[in-house]
Symmetry: C2
Subunit: 582 residues, 2 copies
């Protein structure tokens, strides 16, 4: 087991192997991928597809002098195995040493910590620019999947690359998929290029001024070595368009590429997940039910997503059922927001769906294209919580600081299933406001909730008490409830408990009212404190006698943390807050 | 004078004119443009180039049923003249009724209030999507300049458009320029298309799956009418690539397109501005001097800009002199940040230059590509102030709320020429932090300043006093000084005056120290209060006895305001603050 792989301490050891041994190495690497992915999950399809190309890259180029930049870097596991990090795959005790993305802290063969799409060409262009200023001569190689090409940042960089006159190699790994199926006119062109074996005169890369070479057998090591040898030390920018099979080497994944883009721990024989999700209906399932029902009832309603139907688990069958009430624009967060704004302007009712970390890319479009124009778009953001995605590149904890400070945008933070669904219904029917709704990151709660949210910034006092008022936002409401109970139990009085519902503004009337019988306001929010919800309240009470204590995360790039541990570190568990109140 | 134009109350009146009259109308419209622009300034080249095409659009299509969406909309003056708003051009008393951009509040012929680039295709796609859902049948026409095509949002939308199968018309107004010269591989392709009269088989639009038609004489009304008639009611997406002359009809502007993209009020005979800038050396001039000097001394240093050398007034001659130490990536804020990050990672010292309002587009790249990776890039942002650009689409007042909440990013707010230059020097030499420097928006001040800022978040106490501490950030420091003097004069004690220098963190030691002899902290900042600098201080003192009063702008989309009047409205002039202290 892993006989060859165990001898690979770095790229030099790859270069020593014969062509036959390289093929055996590929098999061992797939076994190593199975070992890790069946046990702790991760990106499946992208890594299984890139085994051969990665071996060839390390065989031909001299990393780290020659520099590889992987897009999203969810396909970089094979690269990691070949650059001294095989133990993260073959030795269970070392799994957690390797992140799921490239990481300069792990290895000199990694140049960037990335996780968002469409960045590799631009980042690599920067490496090349510095190389040229220094009159160095290494190869710089950007690797990007076909799905990521539709992102604005990638195309901006293609255009800049077209102006270069020094070494720059862009490996386009075409597996005919984004996470889900690709969307957009360029994918017809990629298909033409594949069919014509790269000969089609209609060629998007050449249109950007780039040289171009095609290799159909992206999973054939010898052919990949040949093609990389051709372009090595090339003195101008060139695209190496390779055709690979996503999920290659696992029949289930080859057949259902979307489901096997990323996987939870699973059983290799059956492909089934190896743990039980339980029977609780999740917030995402509710969202899907809402969508399917709403679409039937209201023909002006449609779902729009930048390649993230999976953010709420909208299946391929459901998408087909929605027909023209579903629009996947491909990886293109900026265009998604602008299109939604335009559609709302012309009378449609768009519901935009993705993860909080990805919508960050459209800050400017949300501000300018949407909110200046005040069009009624509803944006539903999954993973808006500290508890969910904990990779530094996928944190949802910045959303409050980014989006609650945009004028006109109504940011809603529901505290229960009922409130979430009522907010969805209200928002998709109203015609006055752009709205962002944060899907709770905690377990599904049930409480009765209002149905009308048109009284913007009206907080809800759930429990009227005295001395201390707890304002607990969104999915931290249950923490507020718990704290209120503990205060009662420990200090013998009933504090006031408020569900603000609106994260983007203050209920000044209620805040004034609180001054009468309260001397302390505690705010709880699921995000960094800086720029978020609680600081607005601290500022509001700044010149009064009211004391304000803001609880939330620190402005920091946390990485792969244990959520409960983090709360302890931040001294914001209920018992710690009680202690500090003493 | 304006005989024909005075009869145009809307597009129907355009349709009544003969071809000869349409030509006379074009002449009158140019006169009207001169009338407005010589007197109050505005976008020159884009409007002079689009007169004929706009007449033809209104002649052929039926606005507002057929819907025009203009990119940036800095070329929409002719459209405004033909849609009931001629008085904004021919009658000086009505100039201020019209904004410099499209505006739905002005007319039903405008659909969006826009000012940033590269948005028109996506916004128009939204209109078309809603049309299709409603089974309506109007034409939707996006107009975009060649310069704006390089922006990611535009290319994302081209890709989405390629998937459509209903009416969608993209007019690419190719005048061979962005504000400055174009940059990027696609511009070679546009040139090929122009030279081949649209016949080149290498065609970026076709590569995106779009139908395509070329018209060389974009300034010939008859030909433009012909081409628009051809595409009207087309049932699939099509690009109408037209070649126009930027600044057509004014020799000076035809010869120097960059300088005449936008103009201050000027004398028509000489082209000279009609008011005196004075002799004070501006912050932008200092920046240019710094750059030219630094580039000579340090070969790792380079300037990178997303098509905005004009943000600091870097001339064509200076750009040429900088050679490979200058990189204009075209309109591509996202790629610009990522390229700068990559270059810094590989040892270069990039200085990124643009306006605050435009860098908003790269929030995600600054957070992910740059700050997670903590690469030493310096970003210099002009118009980071409430006093400067006052169009709602170009406000610099959101920068503090957007960028001070990103971990690792050091946001520096200088208070004088000396401090600004020292910060530039320090930042471009250090290798530890991504840094954003806000160019002051007030008159140039001179004060001695530190040269080392490596003690991150170390505030500077400029005057030690008692009772009240004024923390005055960046270009509001001088307001803080004035307030300190007035407090002394009116209340007979010396307040403490602090220049925080760092907008992105707190000097907790100093804040603790203040508790001893102060009961009130006043913060002053040049931006919205929400999410900005002062609220961090209010939160810090939340549970202490210190009172905190935050002064700044409200979270609001202000539009074309008088800066001094706005401060009065916000009750934050020095005398108003003094009154509130009584």
């Amino acid at each position: 087991m892993y006989e060859l792989l165990k001898k690979i301490d770095g790229p030099d050891d790859v270069k020593k192997l014969s062509q036959d041994e390289l093929k055996l190495l590929a098999n061992e690497m797939r076994e190593a991928l199975f070992n890790r992915l069946t046990k702790i999950g991760g990106h499946f399809g992208p890594n299984f597809g890139m085994v051969e190309a990665t071996i060839a890259m390390h065989y031909v180029f001299n990393s780290p002098k020659d520099k590889f930049v992987f897009d999203v870097s969810h396909q970089s596991y094979p690269h990691k195995m070949l650059t001294g990090r095989r133990n993260g795959y073959i030795d269970d005790e070392h799994f957690l040493e390797d992140s799921g993305y490239t990481n300069p802290d792990e290895s000199e063969h990694d140049f960037f910590n990335v996780g968002h799409t469409s960045t590799s060409i631009a980042l690599a262009l920067g490496l090349a620019k510095a190389r040229d200023l220094k009159h160095d001569n290494e190869n710089v190689i950007a690797v990007i999947g076909d799905g990521s090409l539709s992102g604005g940042e990638a195309m901006e960089a293609l255009n800049v690359a077209g102006d270069m006159d020094s070494n720059f190699i862009i490996v386009v790994n075409d597996n005919e998929m984004a996470i889900a199926e690709n969307h957009g006119g360029m994918y017809e062109n990629l298909k033409e290029l594949r069919i014509s074996n790269g000969k089609s005169s209609n060629n998007i890369f050449k249109a950007y001024g780039l040289d171009y070479i095609y290799e159909e057998d992206g999973n054939d090591i010898s052919k990949m070595i040949e093609v990389f040898k051709k372009v090595k030390d090339c003195k101008h920018p060139i695209v190496v368009h390779i055709h690979t099979q996503k999920g290659k080497g696992y029949e289930l994944a080859e057949k259902n590429k979307e489901n096997w883009h990323w996987t939870m721990p699973f059983d290799r024989e059956t492909g089934k997940p190896t743990f039980d999700f339980g029977n609780v209906k999740s917030y995402t399932e509710m969202t899907v039910d809402f969508i399917m029902d709403k679409a039937k009832k209201d023909k002006d309603f449609f779902v729009i997503t930048p390649a993230m139907p999976g953010a709420i688990g909208l299946s391929r069958e459901q998408r087909l059922e929605l027909k023209d009430q579903y629009l996947d624009v491909g990886i293109a967060e900026e265009a998604a927001v602008a299109i939604a704004s335009g559609a709302a302007k012309n009378g449609a009712k768009p519901l935009l769906v993705t993860n909080m970390t990805f919508i960050q890319r459209s800050y400017d479009q949300i501000s300018q294209d949407l909110c200046i124009n005040n069009n009624p778009v509803t944006m539903v953001m999954n993973y808006s919580s500290f508890d969910g995605l904990t990779d530094v590149t996928h944190l949802g904890i910045f959303g409050l600081s980014v989006f609650t400070n945009i004028p006109n945008l109504v940011v809603l933070a529901p505290t229960s299933a009922e409130e979430y669904l009522n907010m969805l219904e209200w928002s998709t029917n109203q015609r006055q406001h752009p709205v962002m709704i944060l899907i709770p990151g905690n377990e599904v709660s049930h409480r009765s909730a209002d149905v009308d949210f048109s009284d913007i910034n009206k907080f809800k006092m759930e429990q009227k008490g005295e001395k201390t008022a707890i304002i607990a936002l969104g999915d931290f409401y249950q923490r507020g409830e718990e704290l209120a109970k503990e205060i009662n139990a420990k200090f013998g009085y009933t504090p006031t408990l408020i569900n603000p519902r609106f994260a983007s503004g203050l209920d000044e009337e209620m805040l004034e009212e609180l001054k009468k019988e309260h001397s302390l306001v505690i705010t709880l929010e699921d995000g960094i404190i800086e720029g978020g919800f609680g600081q607005k309240i601290a500022s509001y009470y700044g010149t009064s006698d009211m004391k304000v204590k803001n609880y939330g995360l620190k402005k920091e790039f946390y990485d792969r943390y244990n959520p409960e541990e983090l709360l302890k570190e931040l001294e914001m568990t209920t018992s710690q807050i009680i202690d500090s109140l003493r």
